[in-house]
């Protein structure tokens, strides 16, 4: 873990209540980026707030020394962040958490992100695509206006299904409705591809998910039991680096700290 000052390179609103921020690391500070894994996060000090705010690393570019984060403005801290402009500096701790384990790489991974859980799926999708996998992605949002990054996932070569709660874009309902549609004609209608690709959709061999806990639980219930999976959890954090025990959760292998032993847990160890 390093404590680094990053400079805001750019910030833009990409959906209502959703901001994308690109941060620039100076000189040798960028070396941290060589070790970043998808699913890791940064912990941001915001002027006027005591505790830092944890936000996932959405994407990173080691050569350029930049990272991208995407966050929803849900309270005073993220509101304050959304008012920041290019050139301002941010004090961060990074990289934090374990990130997704890409040790045994699935060939047909299924990636599922819900709302503020979408950002870490992007960096993961890029890593999987670079390793030769052809990810199937499901992104869940409230409504059409909230959708972001659909094209960016597609540009990585991923097949993308969108769900919205009000049906204003993609499949009406939740990400599990898209899981049920995989391999059926209804998914094919929303997402172009060869007949073989559609036949393969439902034959995923690994599932990765990030989103609200009810979504994660539903994904777990809907994915075949024998498929390995990794899911990223959120918890209120005191430190973000394993010192305070503020973020603990019980797993089948004992207590784990979401910030240090997580935020990614193996599907097989999660106690729902």
């Amino acid at each position: 873990m390093k404590n680094t000052i990053l400079t805001i390179k750019q910030q833009q609103r990409i959906a209502p209540d959703t901001c994308e921020m690109v941060l620039q690391a100076a000189g040798t500070d960028a070396a941290v980026l060589e070790e970043v894994r998808p699913g890791q996060f940064i912990n941001i000090k915001i002027d006027g707030f005591y505790l830092r705010r944890p936000i996932s690393i959405c994407d990173w570019d080691a050569a350029a020394g930049t990272i991208t984060i995407i966050y929803k403005t849900v309270g005073q801290g993220t509101e304050a962040m959304s008012r920041m402009t290019a050139g301002q500096e941010l004090d961060i701790l990074w990289p934090l958490g374990n990130g997704y384990d890409l040790g045994c790489l699935p060939q047909r991974p299924l990636l599922i992100g819900g709302g503020a859980g979408v950002p870490p799926m992007y960096g993961l999708c890029r890593k999987l695509a670079e390793a030769g996998a052809r990810p199937q992605v499901i992104l869940g949002f409230r409504s059409a206006a909230d959708v972001f990054y659909q094209e960016k996932f597609q540009a990585l070569g991923a097949r993308v299904l969108i769900t919205t709660e009000d049906g204003s874009a993609g499949i009406r309902g939740f990400v599990t409705d898209a899981m049920a549609a995989l391999g059926t004609g209804s998914a094919a209608a929303l997402e172009p591809g060869s007949a073989e690709e559609h036949a393969n959709e439902s034959a995923y061999d690994g599932v990765f998910a990030c989103g609200p806990e009810p979504m994660l639980r539903a994904v777990d219930q809907n994915a075949p039991a024998e498929i390995p999976g990794q899911m990223s959890f959120e918890e209120r954090m005191g430190c973000g680096f394993g010192a305070c025990m503020g973020c603990s959760c019980e797993t089948k292998y004992g207590a784990k700290r979401i910030c240090k032993d997580g935020p990614v847990l193996e599907r097989s160890e999660i106690i729902w």
Binding site: N3, G238, A243, M245, S248
Partner: protein
């Protein structure tokens, strides 16, 4: 002028008065990844109970103005695992006496933990936590009643020859009275203060943020409360006092020592700025020079 940061605590020399406070420094390992923790005077490790404890349900943390709430509830692997695993791991990165933070639900629990930790040569002091606001039985219940406090301190006193330090709760009407009861029961020193009982409500859900409803408030906002407690205690008893609560700068350290503290503990600051202790120790000589202080031992205002 060469600043003399040395001080002593219950007969053990400290290179400087800055320690990390219990529960905010784990068993030191996370911090040893960032800096050489041997620069610390010492640190107090996470509160330890006879049996492993998961602690309270989450959320256990809430952000506040210049501070935070925690309701961790003494999560720890139990004294046997601490001795078998955490202390050997610590020995690789920390070569000074460490302070053990002893907890329990009854005087016998405290004595069991202290008796086992008494065998560990790494442990320099026994800090008896009679002030945790986050456990149903024991904890703060002992530290808010002079009789109960004395009972726990004498139970620990009987099983160890290491210095016994009582960690006091600010959630009392007269902290000096508790301090005197601990002194009479055989304490060699006092730490003041543990967290203040506090609470926050989420405006959107209209529910308490902490799953446990209430928790302990700490951070810069409590500094004046801690300073006042140290001032009162150090005038009521003849024991060294460790000042703890809200410290986040070298100036805070000096102020706390002027109030009567023999040493200090830095808590929440470690969580928001992982190098807080290192930074404070680094700033201390400059701050001493600025205020014309040659030696910390002569600081206390009489």
């Amino acid at each position: 002028m060469v600043a003399d940061m040395k001080t002593s605590l219950c007969g053990i020399e400290l290179d400087n008065p800055v320690m990390a406070a219990s529960g905010t420094f784990g068993y030191g390992l996370e911090f040893a990844e960032i800096y050489d923790i041997n620069i610390l005077g010492s640190f107090s490790f996470k509160g330890t109970t006879p049996q492993p404890r998961f602690g309270n349900p989450t959320p256990r943390i809430a952000d506040c103005t210049e501070g935070m709430l925690n309701s961790v509830g003494l999560q720890n692997p139990g004294v046997d695992a601490v001795i078998a695993e955490e202390l050997p791991a610590l020995a690789k990165v920390f070569h000074k006496p460490v302070m053990a933070n002893v907890c329990g639900g009854s005087p016998a629990d405290y004595a069991e933990v202290a008796e086992k930790l008494d065998q560990c040569s790494q442990v320099g002091w026994m800090e008896v936590n009679i002030s945790c606001p986050n456990v149903k039985s024991g904890g703060m219940a002992f530290g808010t009643d002079p009789g109960a406090a004395a009972e726990v301190i004498s139970a620990v006193r009987r099983v160890t020859r290491k210095p016994v330090i009582a960690k006091l709760s600010p959630n009392v009407t007269d902290i000096a009275e508790i301090a005197r009861a601990c002194e009479a029961a055989g304490a060699d020193g006092l730490t003041a203060i543990n967290t203040l009982l506090g609470m926050r409500i989420d405006l959107k859900t209209r529910q308490p943020i902490l799953a446990n409803t209430m928790g302990g408030f700490s951070g810069p906002a409590v500094f004046p409360v801690a300073l006042r407690a140290v001032w009162q205690i150090s005038r009521a008893v003849d024991l060294p006092v460790i000042g703890c609560g809200g410290i986040c700068s070298a100036e805070n350290v000096l102020e706390m020592m002027m109030a009567g503290a023999a040493a200090v503990q830095v808590g929440s600051a470690n969580l928001t700025v992982p190098t807080a202790c290192r930074d404070i120790i680094g700033d201390l000589p400059g701050a001493m020079e600025k205020y014309g202080i040659r030696s910390l031992k002569e600081l206390r205002v009489r």
